[in-house]
């Protein structure tokens, strides 16, 4: 029992770390349309880099399940978009298309945390000796994900506290999924590539459907290309180092 509590506690700690991603936006004002476009580009690069990492992890466990998972990830976001488009979405003080994008990124990142929670639980299943190392690695890994969420929310009118709160919220599935995955490692190991593929598909679709077109219609192309390429490769190297 105490081990289960420890897994939950560690995974909850990693979720809280996601909120740190909101901090840089306390220093940078995101008011002009161009700044919003740049924030979109940064979020796109971070998410594309993260989806590369997920695909690499998924294919290590099985190529076909990753592919199937990714297809469902894309379909899920398509369906969610349809559903949101038919409604007048209110998010904080915003409503209309800006609120819809803010809500969509929270949904995408929250859904992707379910898969990450499974990965955390399965990793703890390998033994608690490495628990602290795993926890620190995942916590640090969550910070740029909070950065991606905050880039989108902040540029659509949310306060820093709201950005941090939604970032933490998006990671709450991690402790929730880590516990059953830890207890039933073998069953969840089978599910892992599907979940990770699903998360990669959902994130990549959000990048190409919403974030990049939003960035490219307003910001200059070289700026978008530099921001996306640098944040993407930065994310890949960063995740690899953990």
């Amino acid at each position: 029992m105490s081990e289960v509590l420890a897994v939950f506690g560690y995974a909850l700690g990693t979720a809280l770390a996601t909120g740190l991603g909101a901090l840089p936006f306390a220093l940078v004002p995101l008011v002009s349309a161009r700044a919003v476009a740049h924030a979109n580009a940064i979020a796109a690069g971070l998410m594309l880099g993260a989806s590369f990492g997920l695909v690499a992890e998924g294919t290590a466990h099985g190529t076909a399940p990753t592919l199937i998972g990714a297809a469902f990830g894309v379909l899920f976001i398509l369906a969610t978009q349809r559903w949101l488009n038919a409604r007048d979405v209110v998010f904080g003080a915003e409503h209309g298309p800006r609120a819809r994008q803010a809500l969509l990124i929270v949904i995408v990142m929250t859904v992707h945390s379910f898969a990450e929670g499974i990965a955390v639980g399965v990793a703890f299943g390998g033994g608690m000796a490495l628990a602290v190392a795993i926890t620190v690695a995942i916590a640090v890994h969550n910070v740029p994900e909070g950065l991606a969420i905050s880039a989108v929310l902040r540029s659509r009118g949310s306060s820093i506290v709201r950005c941090a709160a939604w970032s933490v919220f998006s990671s709450l599935p991690q402790p929730v999924m880590a516990v059953p995955a830890f207890l039933l490692v073998e069953a969840f190991q089978v599910a892992l590539p599907y979940g990770v593929g699903f998360a990669a598909g959902a994130m990549a679709f959000m990048v190409f459907e919403e974030l990049l077109p939003g960035a490219l219609t307003i910001a200059r192309r070289p700026t978008v290309a530099v921001l996306v390429t640098c944040t993407m490769i930065g994310m890949v190297l960063f995740q690899r180092a953990l």
Binding site: V55, T59, G201, A204, F208, E209, L216, A225, V228, T229
Partner: protein, 243 residues
């Protein structure tokens, strides 16, 4: 056969594949504008898949040289766009074109092909199987790219044969860069993380600066996203088993 000849042969095949880009236009001389958007999205997805394969194969290499090579790639493509005055150029406008526009587009296509040559060489040095697959992916990518170029040339009255010839010519630099980079790897293997970072960053940069911007207006966000992800996923999953 010496491995450098393999590189030469496959890079030449990839460049020659560009000639297939006119096939579609023989049937339909003025294609619907959405086709051009999807062609660009397909080309973009194949390049991103190639970048994924490079980055995931470089897993054990030092982060420093990879990052430095990536910055070099970003900087060089940025500079080449800035110097040639093509940073905000749409590659696929079909109406009301002057010869200056056409010259610029041909220049962009020529510059674009260079990092793809480096990509083939890096993949060949990582593993011959990955190299062959990468050359095939670049070859496949050259086809829709050439379709967009040829549609532009043929709308200005060029014959299909001439358009195909120009498309292949813009890709000849690929052969030179592929064999040159591979020779560099043979002479000095420590340079591989640098060229890998360079190629991956340049591929991603080119997708964002050249291929994706205009196609969103031509084909709609959803279909562009689906085509890009499908192409990227195919390359990543098939090639993932080879590295």
């Amino acid at each position: 056969m010496h491995p450098i000849l393999t590189v030469l042969a496959f890079a030449a095949f990839a460049a020659a594949a560009a000639s297939l880009g006119v096939v579609l236009l023989v049937f339909r001389e003025r294609p619907p504008i959405a086709w051009l958007g999807w062609s660009n999205a397909l080309a973009a997805g194949l390049m991103l898949g190639a970048a994924y394969l490079l980055l995931s194969s470089g897993g054990t290499m030092g982060a420093g040289p990879l990052a430095a090579g990536s910055l070099l790639g970003v900087g060089l493509v940025f500079a080449s766009h800035a110097v040639s005055g093509t940073a905000d150029l749409d590659l696929n406008v079909l109406a009301g074109l002057g010869p200056a526009y056409v010259r610029k587009v041909i220049r962009v296509h020529t510059l674009h092909a260079a990092p793809e040559g480096v990509t083939i060489a890096v993949a060949m040095s990582l593993s011959p199987a990955l190299g062959v697959f990468m050359a095939l992916a670049i070859a496949a990518h050259n086809v829709p790219e050439a379709t967009v170029l040829a549609a532009m040339l043929m709308s200005r009255g060029a014959s299909a044969a001439r358009a195909a010839a120009v498309a292949v010519m813009t890709n000849l630099g690929q052969i030179l860069l592929a064999t040159g980079t591979y020779a560099l790897h043979l002479a000095w293997p420590a340079v591989l993380p640098w060229t890998l970072g360079f190629a991956a960053a340049a591929l991603v940069y080119l997708v964002l600066a050249e291929l994706l911007p205009e196609c969103y207006r031509q084909a709609g966000h959803t279909s562009v996203a689906v085509v890009t992800i499908l192409a990227m996923g195919m390359v990543a999953l098939v090639g993932g088993g080879l590295s």
